[in-house]
């Protein structure tokens, strides 16, 4: 039986109209008395890769964690402002953060697979959500590992421990684990910073493919990575009071070739940071 190959087209950014998936309005975030994020306003577009760049300590990771309410796990934090996911404010009283995190997944800087088998890692999310059917779980695991470009390397040894994989493989496993629960958005906090250049390259390739299905927001301190991989870039800075704010946001090409703001230009040309 001849198999038809459906080629997905990497449609260019200009051709497809943008639809907004996340709207951040007047977001202020404090750790206790310290204002860590000041008045952030931006839109994140569906199926695009948005990069957050800036010198270290300017709140990029904190901002990322605001988008899936992981900051709620830290005691003493306070959020003002709104984050609208598909029109609904995620900080509303009646929103369950647990449910939110099923829609907004996260990949961390250090790969953190569970000390279980590869299969158990990927099947973990769906299992916890109540999927009992073994066949369905296997399907989900296989699909997720394929999408994370890890399937060929682990097929046949799904029962071996996840910790036996290399760093780059572990990170791709974490990505597979995240996409197994079918989130709408994947947040990535410097996902390749702990990896060697070849593993980094594989992750960057992967991101492009993932963007066809998911929306990706990535924090990176590597400007070249941002310019290679992202469609939109936001540049963050920290002011005299150690509060982070957004300096400029726009299409990656615009930011890197014709930045509007002098600070952006200085950072990009390496004059500081």
């Amino acid at each position: 039986m001849a198999e038809e190959l459906l080629l997905t087209q990497a449609e260019t950014v200009e051709e497809q109209p943008n639809s907004t998936i996340l709207e951040i309005r007047n977001l202020n975030f404090s750790y206790g008395d310290n204002l860590a994020l000041k008045n952030i306003n931006m839109d994140i577009y569906r199926n695009r890769i948005t990069a957050l760049i800036g010198p270290s300590g300017c709140g990029k990771s904190t901002f990322l964690r605001c988008l899936n309410r992981m900051n709620d796990l830290i005691p003493g934090t306070r959020v003002e402002g709104e984050v609208f996911l598909n029109g609904k404010n995620i900080y509303d009283k009646d929103i369950d953060p647990v449910r939110l995190r099923r829609s907004v997944g996260m990949v961390f800087q250090q790969p953190n697979p569970f000390p279980k088998s590869i299969y158990e890692n990927v099947a973990y999310g769906p299992k916890m959500f109540g999927v009992r059917n073994r066949l369905a779980l296997r399907e989900i695991a296989e699909k997720s590992l394929q999408q994370a470009a890890l399937w060929e390397e682990v097929d046949g040894r799904l029962q071996t421990g996840a910790l036996s994989l290399s760093g780059g493989q572990q990170q791709r496993l974490c990505i597979a684990r995240t996409i197994a629960v079918e989130p709408e958005i994947i947040l990535m906090d410097e996902p390749a910073s702990a990896l060697d250049p070849i593993a980094t390259m594989k992750i960057e390739e992967l991101m492009r493919h993932l963007a066809e299905t998911y929306t990706i927001v990535i924090v990176t301190h590597n400007m070249q990575q941002a310019s290679r991989v992202s469609d939109y870039t936001a540049f963050f800075m920290v002011d005299e009071n150690r509060s982070g704010y957004m300096v400029e946001y726009g299409k990656t090409q615009d930011i890197f070739i014709q930045p509007q703001n002098k600070q952006t230009e200085d950072y990009i040309s390496g004059r500081f940071g």
Binding site: R99, M128, H209
Partner: protein
């Protein structure tokens, strides 16, 4: 670029459908979570609340029976006349001897382990051995006392000296381990400072390590002695009397101890004993233990805040 086959595209839809079909289990999981937390809290408080209740019971029963007469009389079949004086003396006497024996032996072993030994099989073997000794049931120490000190060495059974020897061996592992921790807590930089000035190892230990670790050693030892104060089975094995009318006069006197008397009296079914005399004896024992623990905690706090100044 990923190539999708038609078949793969179909299973793509299945994945989402499966996840949705699994239903929304967040509510169920949250309820489960709250129930579980409830169980955990109950479990945590179970022991504490139970013990508190038991202590209230025993204290309530002891009120009225615990008075100066009780503490200064000798045991008797008659509840009003019964007292625990010889037992108090016996307990304190034995534990004092245990302190005198176990401190030098225990601290000595700890010093060897921390300062003199190399990290080789001998050291690890000894440490594992000490860990095992800590887990040996205390009645077996009684058998050791009986079989070695009494039978082999010929020391008469049931006298203070044998009791002290036996209990020393029982608490030695605890003293060694807590002394080790106290010695380990002394910063290496202090050791190097001393050795760098040209002192010998023993001088360094004597003048730098030991003085700084004394509070920790004392705390650990006092807690070990409190343990010894409550020990019953080893003393039974070495022939200590469960009840005696005279307080021990010397290390070769027969003796009895508070826990032994409590054990003996637990057999007396008369109401005045079960809900009067024996609770009073228990309270006396608990007061002594409380004081010892209190001293240990005080030492720990006093010398901890002193260090941070």
């Amino acid at each position: 670029m990923i190539g999708y086959t038609r078949r793969q595209a179909r299973t793509d839809i299945t994945r989402k459908a499966v996840l949705e079909a699994a239903g929304d289990n967040i509510l169920k999981e949250t309820v489960k979570g709250h129930l579980f937390t409830g169980f955990c809290v109950v479990a945590t408080l179970f022991g504490i609340v139970s013990l508190a209740a038991l202590l209230v019971y025993v204290f309530w029963d002891a009120v009225g029976w615990l008075d100066w007469q009780f503490v200064t009389s000798t045991p008797s079949r008659f509840a009003e006349k019964a007292g625990v004086y010889p037992m108090i003396v016996g307990s304190i006497f034995v534990v004092a001897l245990v302190a005198a024996f176990s401190l030098p032996l225990g601290v000595g072993a700890a010093v060897w382990l921390e300062e003199y030994s190399r990290d080789n099989w001998l050291k690890r073997g000894i440490e594992m051995n000490i860990a095992n000794l800590a887990g040996v049931p205390s009645i077996v120490y009684g058998l050791l006392g009986l079989g070695f000190f009494v039978s082999t060495l010929g020391i008469p059974h049931g006298i203070v000296l044998v009791g002290a020897f036996t209990l020393t061996l029982r608490v030695l592992p605890i003293v060694i381990v807590s002394s080790q921790e106290a010695i380990r807590a002394v910063p290496t930089s202090h050791r190097h400072a001393s050795l760098g000035l040209g002192t010998t190892r023993w001088q360094m230990i004597r003048t730098v390590v030991l003085p700084q670790s004394i509070p920790g050693i004392m705390t650990g030892t006092i807690l070990a002695l409190a343990n010894a104060m409550g020990e019953t089975a080893p003393l039974i094995m070495i022939g200590a009397a469960t009840s005696i009318f005279t307080a021990p006069k010397g290390i070769f006197s027969s003796f009895s101890a508070l826990p032994l008397q409590i054990y003996a009296w637990s057999d007396f079914p008369k109401q005045e004993f079960q809900h009067g005399v024996t609770p009073a004896a228990i309270i006396v024992l608990l007061i002594i233990l409380l004081s010892m623990n209190g001293i240990a905690i005080y030492i720990r706090h006093r010398f901890r805040t002193k260090k941070t100044k």
